[in-house]
Amino acid sequence: MKPSVIEAAALAIFIALGGAGIWAAGQIGGFAFDPLGSAAVPYTVSIFVVLLSLACLFRLVTGRSEKERNPETTGAAGVETFPPRDLLEVVAMLGFTIVYVIALFAIGLPFSLATLVFVPASARLIARTSSAKGMTVALAVGAIVGFGGELLFTKVFFVDLPALW
């Protein structure tokens, strides 16, 4: 998969944000004693977001964007492609994170237990292997972060995390 797909997705998000901004700025009422008004800045900024996103999209379509792609984020070769499977792993990791948050704050699973499951499961996903040694290390780290973190955050910093004890 080419980075241009990701870039196009980012631009789509920006256009949506800008469009929503233009619509919402139109709903803002006037204010008699303020020469600038509340709507001027949101309007201007939203319009620029949409216009610049369209300009970037044009550059992407015409191939100009590829030439000046940021080497820090894509490697020295300038354009770095990656297999779709890698992207699916990122999506899976995002899913794990969301499930972790739901487990903690909607279901009320204790932080220690949720972390004990989250860390090894995520490590398995990222490492793509399930070697006994790797899983043991991940489980040990999950236990330390889970139980140690629960103690630290709930008893020392008084963070309102669901706790086992």
């Binding site: 984020t73 992207l87 990122v90 490590a123 991940a138």
Partner: protein, 506 residues
Amino acid sequence: MEGLLSAFGFVLTPLPLLLMLVGVSAGVFVGAIPGLTGTMLIALCLPLTFFMAPETAIVLLISIYVGAISGGLITATLLKMPGTEAAIMTTLDGFPMARSGRPGRALGLGIGASFVGGVVSWLALVVLARPLSIWATQFTAFNYFALIIMALVLIAVISQGSMFKGILAAFVGALLSLPGIDASSGTPRLTFGLVELNGGIDPIPMFIGLFAVGTVFSDMLDRGAAAKGIEASRKGILMSLGDYARHGINLLRSSVIGTWVGLLPGVGAVIGSMVAYSVAKSVSKKPEAFGTGSEEGIVASESANNATIGGAMIPLIALGLPGSLNNVLLLAALLIHSIQPGPLLFVNNPDLVYTLMAALLMANVVMYVVMVLSVRWVSRITQVPRAVLFPVILVCCIVGGFAYNNSVADLWVLIGFGVLGFFMERGGFPKGPMAISFILIPLAEQKLRTGLQLSAGDWSPLYSEPLTVVMLLIAVAMLFLPFFGRLMPRLGFRRTPGHTPDPSEE
């Protein structure tokens, strides 16, 4: 002077010293690991600072900042992988020197030069910040507005990658800063009827999502093989007095360059070290040695990149203008405690300013000690498997994002910005202009509004106040300079044939 001395008294008490040790060590650790950055760690620590006094919080964050900029040197030298962008130029000479059997010498030069760079820029901070802030108190609201616009344009234009993307990122940051109740009229704007948005988007979950979660997701796609490292050695790790004398001019020159570059908004440590490296090469008696393990190259790069820290602090303290990502996060930490950096900071919170100054110097001292003592361990710790590291970072993000307000809604904001951060990083959009604009645009709008109210709606000061005009013209020039640069050859203004530019100068 008295205030600075009492700040040193505070910084040298057990708790700040302990925080400094923890902060510098953690900073060196993340700075040494390619892919992890000090920005990520500072973002993660922001919620933690909520439980601290502002002075203590600033000690911790400054220490992380100094440690992270310095830590990149280790992997740049031993693995040929700069842990931070700031150490890119160090790789050119550090790795060849380490490979030729002198890893301790390469690291020692880098650590010593980093320390000198930090001290020189600290001196500049102490000398320049107060006069600059006194001068800035005379700024009109329009002057301030123009200054912020100029800084934002500079940051967006010179950020990595395409200028278009930098400017777009800055505008997106501006747009994201606008939801909430308008302080002037009390009108809700861009809230879409959501009560949760009345207070605006909180910078803490936003920054943790953008810089930590987004970076983890993005780094998952980098599946490069681990580099084979050179074993670190302590031999030659301490620079002798003779070394300091021999490299004295280079150290001083590069530190001054780094400080000056750090002063400019958005330019940062990478450009600072590149400029210092290029200047050192151009004035060197042995320019051909650069890139093959030159001591001068390491000294120039490392002193300059550390010097940018103190340089960047000057506009942050004196004008309230964060020039780099790390400075935005420092600014956010101060805002959490309702402290607004700017010209009046010396008047309203002098203790905090002097604590920041004292912490910067002491963090450099602690950095020197930590780096010298821990260099062998750090080079091994960097080989921690990412499969374990990334989930732990995500757990820290979730806890940090929640702890700030004990709010689950913040976690959804955090995850949302994590996704946005991923798209921005992989799509080549710089996140710096977005974060800086997010913080500065509300201030710019407030200044413009104040100016207009004071002038009864008259816009003419924007083109009649000399300082405002100069700053806005600089902003416009910065914006259009790249286009003129491309237009010149087409109009017949070509480079002299046969001139081959030095890649390091570019």
